[in-house]
């Protein structure tokens, strides 16, 4: 007989607020007149994320004392899960601020009609009539809601649904860049195909685990004792013939699916291309928030399996740990080594994000209870620095000026045509003089990512490496420190270019880049094709000119690098990120105390 489940609505409130606002956002698209749509969406999105965070804050004292399983574990709110939800809400809020900024150019980072075929007259028409794609805001809310659910469930099927709810909007968002349309669409297609592949592996793993346990929930439903993956492991089902193979293969496939979302080697191949091709505010959003959700889910799956197997079958436990160790080492190595030869800022930050996945996994591989707290802190520190850094990237732009017309002496943004982002590292030379505050903030984010003391990153890395060391993997911690040193080198390289090198377009020494004039080039739009991968990245040492092969400018014109003014939101986000990075580095104890409370993931 069917019994209607008791639903703890308060425990679901953060999810309902965020996802519900996404649905309302779609209705806003349907009924609010076009001119008011953008403002309505921004207010709605920010309010939803703030409201979700408020509910998380309300729930916190209660959950810390007594974790809640809603509907038999479909949503399992442990302090760890709720902590991850809170971090996602905060980072998504900051991410949306960057997304919402139109900058002094009056254009946001998104295509007027993302569905138009690149280079068509339809696209041109949409641009000229000033259309805007405000659907990005509901999509962001759906993605954020999916991430929050992803991090807080005990049920592998719900986790799969959450995985799709967070991924599908991101696939779409990746394709919406205003400039470099083909690159953006290519990124989306790659992300979609590889993401679908990873989802398939994940769901196959879930099927195998179901075959093993007869349940897709780890702890199981309290009302049905003995049913669940952990009870099945503990009852000795793994000793049955062929059963341990089902369990190990299932867990491995699920872990592979999660590692894909984390961006760990060897499942990282999509990361550089997608991070480069996606609109930069979206890159910041997904680099920060997806990583939080994916790592939180990974930690919960791994540690729940570990609870079961470490007493029953230590051999499986040892193998599981070895898998994570190997992936962590590979991820750190590829992230730092390949990252250090990049010539594109977005690509460099992408490899930095891969390296950070490695550092996070070093902590996770320790398999001891304090790791959960340090992982949450790491995710917060990394997320803040990432959103801030990509926020800065959105403001550093190329500008086309015609020499002799005196245009380039005017205020920024009022003369010449501001084009896309200047993402070549060589173009960032002399940025320290053009925009000292922005450079200072960016430097702070880089130092935090590098793990320099007095920034959030230091405390975070310290926690992760201590976690590995206290789990008996001191050599892995040493490897982590070594990889950090290599990473410091590539962050500092970017920093040196920004602060100590003279700008290429310094008026004293104009650098004229010649390129063919292409008839029919759309004004104000430059199609820059960076085929950039590791191999081309290494050969592009010649600087900016190497990849600016198809910039459509007349021979009389020149591309300068400029910093556009933010219209507010992005500046606020960058400032908040910078301040938070310092506060978390200098005075981390309140937040550390909070995440310490969160180191509990057993309902």
């Amino acid at each position: 007989m069917f019994e209607a489940p008791e639903i703890d609505w308060l425990a679901l409130a953060p999810l309902i607020v965020v996802l519900g606002a996404g649905v309302v956002g779609v209705l806003v698209e349907a009924f609010v007149p076009a001119r008011a749509r953008r403002m309505t969406q921004i207010v709605l999105t920010l309010a939803a994320l703030a409201g979700g965070f408020a509910f998380i804050a309300v729930l916190w004292p209660q959950i810390v004392v007594q974790p809640v399983q809603v509907v038999g574990g479909s949503v399992t709110l442990t302090p760890f899960a709720l902590g991850a939800q809170g971090i996602i809400a905060v980072l998504a809020f900051l991410g949306v601020l960057v997304v919402a900024d139109r900058t002094a150019t009056g254009q946001d980072a998104f295509a007027p009609t993302a569905s138009a075929v690149p280079g068509t007259s339809y696209e041109d028409l949409a641009r000229r009539s000033g259309l805007e794609q405000t659907e990005i805001y509901p999509l962001l809310l759906f993605a954020a809601g999916g991430m929050m659910l992803f991090a807080s469930t005990d049920d592998l099927i719900v986790m799969f649904i959450a995985l799709e709810v967070l991924s599908l909007p991101l696939y779409v968002l990746c394709a919406t860049a205003r400039r470099r349309r083909l690159l953006s669409q290519e990124a989306a297609a790659k992300y979609f195909l590889l993401g679908a592949f990873a989802s398939a592996l994940f769901i196959f793993g879930v099927a195998l685990i179901y075959g093993f346990a007869g349940s897709v929930r780890f702890f199981g439903d309290p009302s049905r004792p003995g049913v669940g993956v952990l009870p099945a492991i503990q009852s000795g089902a793994a000793q049955g013939e062929g059963m341990s193979v089902l369990l190990v293969a299932g867990v491995l496939l699920v872990v592979v699916g999660l590692l894909f979302k984390v961006g760990a080697v060897p499942f990282h191949a999509w990361t550089p291309d997608v991070y480069t091709g996606a609109p930069t505010p979206i890159t910041g959003f997904m680099a920060a928030c997806t990583k939080v959700a994916a790592v939180a889910a990974l930690v919960q799956v791994l540690y729940r399996v570990a609870i079961g197997v470490q007493t029953v079958d230590p051999e499986i436990m040892r193998q599981l740990q070895m898998v994570i160790v190997v992936v962590a080492v590979l991820t750190m190595a590829v992230g730092t080594i390949v990252g250090s030869v990049q010539t594109d800022v977005k690509r460099l930050l992408a490899y930095s994000s891969i390296a950070h996945a490695g550092f996070l996994l070093v902590g996770v591989a320790g398999f001891n209870s304090q790791v959960q707290a340090s992982t949450l802190f790491y995710l917060l520190a990394y997320g803040i620095a990432t959103i801030g850094a990509f926020g800065v990237v959105t403001l550093v732009r190329e500008r086309r000026v015609t020499p002799g017309s005196g245009e380039h002496n005017g205020p920024v943004g009022d003369d010449g045509v501001v084009l896309g982002e200047a993402t070549e590292i060589a173009q960032w030379a002399g940025l320290g003089r053009k925009a000292p505050w922005l450079t200072a903030a960016f430097a702070l984010f880089l130092l935090s990512m590098a793990g320099i003391p007095l920034t959030a990153g230091f405390i975070a890395k310290f926690g992760a490496f201590t976690g590995a060391a206290s789990g008996g993997l001191w050599w892995l911690a040493v490897l982590g420190v070594l990889a950090s040193v290599v990473a410091v080198a590539f962050y500092l390289r970017l920093l040196v270019v920004m602060v100590f090198q003279r700008a290429q377009d310094d008026p004293a020494e104009p650098l004229v880049k010649l390129a063919e004039t292409t008839p029919g080039a759309a004004p104000g739009e430059a199609e820059v094709s960076t085929s950039g991968d590791v191999s081309t990245g290494a050969t592009a040492g010649a600087g900016a000119t190497a990849t600016l092969t198809t910039v459509q400018v007349t021979t009389a014109q020149r591309i300068e690098v400029t910093v556009v003014r933010s219209r507010g939101p992005a500046a606020v986000a960058i400032a908040v990120c910078a301040v938070a990075t310092v506060i978390l580095g200098v005075f981390p104890s309140p937040v550390l105390a909070l995440v310490e409370q969160a180191s509990k993931f057993v309902p």
Partner: protein, 119 residues
């Protein structure tokens, strides 16, 4: 007999039919190629090369497909609910109404944004 044997046999028959069909038509089928036969069969659109600069797509196709998905998903969940209507009682009814309301949202979006204005 192992209860999985019939499944294996079924899979084997399926594989033989699929591969055999391709192989047989490759061996004994008449081969009269012309331009139309070499075209890709892909929803009436050339998938490659990419239509740069002026390539036009019948966008209505996607609209129809997506509208179909809206109602398709709806029906997929309505049938099992209808079968167990009495057991699921009020809880099921309320859940279904919420689900229907949610699935109407994309439909309303499509309607308001001109998805059905084809002229």
């Amino acid at each position: 007999m192992n209860p999985y044997v019939p499944i294996l046999i079924l899979m084997a028959i399926g594989a033989v039919l699929a591969l055999g069909g391709v192989a047989a038509s490759a061996v004994i089928g008449p081969k009269r190629y012309n331009r139309a036969k070499l075209d890709s069969y892909e929803c009436g659109i050339e998938p490659t090369p990419h239509a740069v600069g002026g390539g036009r797509l019948p966008i209505k196709y996607y609209l129809v497909a997506m509208t179909f998905i809206v109602f398709d998903i709806e029906v997929v969940f309505l049938y099992p609910w209808a079968v167990d209507f009495t057991t699921l009682a009020t809880f099921g009814l309320v859940s279904m109404l919420v689900f229907l309301a949610l699935i109407t949202v994309p439909f309303v979006y499509e309607w308001r944004r001109g998805g059905f204005d084809w002229v």
